[in-house]
């Protein structure tokens, strides 16, 4: 019986350690940073699973580090909805967002966003950054509120390959 217990102990330890290893931030390798219209290609399990259960997993390169810190510190009131997470998942996602934020110097997209950002600005809405506004200045206001679009937070309504991180103009189709 002792051996059985010991066996369980060992397996439980190994299991816990491997779980821990998986839950560590991957750091998200910035592979194939495509420049202006391509989001840096990133993978991070909790970021994709949690953020994308309600909306597109917006690229960390679209807001500076201090914005993500504010964002993740206020998930109980996340744009009017409770998006609270358990503390471990929250910390894991924040580390990933910080490491790949617009001001991390890890992507060309981030550099572009920062070029137009006020020095100490910590915006929470990507759609209110100067970079976003400039990029969409030809889209009439009424288009955003169309039923088929909903709001500017719904990237994929027009950017048909947004889920893949592709945002170049050839892939845009504004729905009626």
């Amino acid at each position: 019986m002792n051996y059985v217990l010991r066996g369980i102990g060992v397996l439980a330890t190994v299991g816990t350690l491997s779980l821990l290893a998986f839950s560590l931030p991957s750091g998200g390798e910035a592979r194939g940073d495509g420049g202006d219209d391509l989001m840096p290609r990133l993978t991070h399990q909790a970021w994709q699973q949690e953020c994308a259960s309600c909306h597109l997993a917006y690229s960390p390169a679209l807001l500076p580090r201090a914005s993500w810190q504010r964002m993740m510190g206020g998930l109980e009131q996340h744009f009017g909805e409770n998006a609270s997470l358990d503390p471990a998942t929250q910390a894991d996602i924040l580390r990933f967002l910080e490491a790949n934020a617009a001001d991390s110097g890890r992507s060309r997209m981030g550099d572009k966003v920062m070029q137009r950002m006020d020095k100490n600005a910590t915006p929470l809405r990507i759609t209110e950054t100067r970079w976003f506004v400039k990029k969409h200045d030809e889209v009439p206001r009424a288009t955003w509120t169309r039923k088929s679009v909903g709001s500017a937070a719904n990237c994929a309504a027009c950017h048909r390959q947004a889920e893949k991180g592709v945002f170049d103009e050839d892939t845009v189709r504004i729905p009626k």
């Binding site: 051996y3 059985v4 066996g7 369980i8 397996l11 994308a52 259960s53 309600c54 909306h55 597109l56 009017g80 909805e81 409770n82 998006a83 609270s84 997470l85 358990d86 679009v149 909903g150 709001s151 937070a153 719904n154 994929a156 309504a157």
Partner: protein, 134 residues
Amino acid sequence: MIKHIAWTSLLLLSASAAAADTPASFMARYAQQAGVAVTALSPARGEALYRSEHPGRSGGAQSCASCHTANPKQAGQTRVGKRIEPLAPVANPQRFTDAAKVEKWFRRNCTDVLQRECSAQERGDFIAWLNQIK
């Protein structure tokens, strides 16, 4: 030694099988927490909770059905247009099989829609209703 390993794996297997959640196991758990028998859970009360309207963020009324639609066998939509898989287990067998997910979404959505947490009784009633939908 092999015998010990076999025993250990058997124990672990049965432990993980017991840990897998089902709608029925959630009903049993919530009934126990509420101090009532599982048979005292009420699908009718669960449905009433689902459809009850509460003052929403932008002045209008909101309910569970606002995002999950009037028919829980159908897919719903989040406020920013993302698909929500159906709530009824008959249409989506993944529902109520993961305790962390179930707790997370009750916590978030009850505080959003009702401006308070849901009681164990309410959670039990809610699942009892969804689980009997054919």
